[in-house]
Symmetry: C2
Subunit: 295 residues, 2 copies
């Protein structure tokens, strides 16, 4: 059985790493904040002091960090993955970053005959915990097939999307749709509030038909009771939408609603609510409307 | 068994009227374009020459027409429902109109001791045909309960939302969410196209997670094969969003994404595509992006 190195043990990474250990894999782990390794070490994972060391001790390395610069640093920086890499090892980057950055990192690794897959996920912390993520994968098909047993532990819907960067490309499309759908829930609920509708009943009706969405079903009820616990953080949504918009800009693609929603997301962040769940978008929309969902 | 009068035998009204007849109700019908009555008359419905005549011959009158002025004309105009009405008869307006207009018509009827329910529906022509509509009802609770057997023939999810106008209020919220969700599908698919993704695969992935919606599942596949057959027409979507925006304006409620999507819907109409299904929104977004989903 291959040894897996896991870098990035945050809200998503930790439960994913745990699932791999439960499935019998031996894990080496690394996290910048060392204390985040403790739980996994208690379960038998080997702690290391750098991405380089993780890589030396593993066959397959998984990175699950925040943003493009984080992946660049962890992979290409001093004591990075690339320094511990040799032919035959595989890097799976499950972070959400720009397709362009992903491709360029992959190219650098290829010079050392190291294959990289971009394999961002959807499904939030619940999906990570339950091994029910959606995983969208780019890279060599052959490499994808080698890693499939690992993906199948982490997720239920695993789709090969094409060459390097295509997993990230898919994730950006996913995030564009998500962001706009959250906005639709906000506008629908606020109109309902202003019209004095009972919002529980409103949700009961509108989830039954053409207005329904994952966001309506899952975030609508949280908005109306003001539960802002994060399933997925505002700050991460902003980052993903920023990647989509900058990718769109490079491709000369206008994304008007995406861009508008991004401005409202920024307003949530401006209120120091970046760590709240994406349903906190309702806070900004409430201010704009001078009204509150819950009195 | 009560006799039902049915006014407005369009894409929605006709299959709804047919379902009532199949359930054993005796129907009187009226349609401005007389030829649209023929199919129902062939099934045993009694044709009439005015809303007044329909009303005289029925206990419960259902209107299913296009817009606020149409309901006003059919109910309050010369030879309208109000002229044939007397105490104890019930008007059920299943059109989508403004909550304000609905309330004011209800008030006028109340002067003749005639109860009115506003009961707009969601679910499109398929829902109408299969008796699987979602019905959101406003008016007197007692009147609602009297009419429940009729609603249960037409729909599966029937929810009483409150006093007069509250059914229409609910429908507007529903339409706001629908309109924005269609936009999210357009922006997500166009980004995918520009990133050279296989759009069938993209839909396979994104429908599996947090991006999913009724619109994504139902209109996404139609957009990518350019099937613009209407389930729900662009021109009706524009009308509903206009009602939502004007209601929002009266309530001093900004609905920024709704307003933006309305502008794009207007562009579809400007191309003489108002009779196409709402998935034709992709046509305008393609022009904006100087790209096409299907080459």
């Amino acid at each position: 059985m291959k040894r897996i190195g896991f870098i990035g043990l945050g809200l998503m990474g930790k439960p994913m790493a745990l699932n791999l250990m439960k499935a019998g894999y031996k894990l080496c782990v690394y996290n910048r904040t060392r204390s985040k390794m403790e739980d996994l070490v208690a379960e038998g994972a080997i702690p290391t002091s750098s991405p380089k060391e993780v890589t030396e001790k593993s066959d397959i390395i998984i990175t699950m960090v925040s943003d493009s610069p984080d992946v660049q640093e962890v992979v290409l920086g001093p004591l990075g993955v690339i320094e511990g890499c040799k032919k035959g090892k595989i890097l799976i980057d499950m972070s959400t970053i720009s397709p362009k950055t992903s491709k360029s990192i992959s190219k650098k690794l290829m010079e050392k005959e190291v294959q990289m897959l971009d394999a961002p996920v959807s499904g939030g912390t619940i999906g990570a915990r339950e091994g029910r993520l959606t995983i969208m994968v780019g890279g060599l098909k052959e490499t994808f097939e080698k890693c499939l047993p690992i993906f199948k532990i982490l997720g239920t819907r695993v789709v090969y999307m094409g060459g390097s960067g295509m997993g990230q490309a898919t994730k950006l499309c996913n995030q564009v749709i998500c962001a706009i759908n959250i906005q639709s829930v906000c506008e629908g609920l606020l109109l309902g509030k202003k019209l004095n509708l009972n919002l529980e009943k409103l949700l009961e009706v509108v989830t039954g038909g053409a207005a329904n969405s994952w966001m309506l079903t899952n975030l609508g009820p949280k908005m109306i009771i003001r539960n802002f616990q994060p399933g997925f953080k505002i700050s991460h949504q902003i980052k993903d939408v920023r990647l989509a918009l900058s990718t769109g800009a490079e491709l000369e693609l206008p994304l008007p609603c995406t861009a508008l929603v991004q401005q409202f997301l920024r307003s949530v962040e401006a209120e120091n609510m970046g760590d709240k769940g994406t349903q906190a978008l309702i806070i900004t929309m409430e201010k704009l409307a001078q009204t509150q969902i819950l009195e």
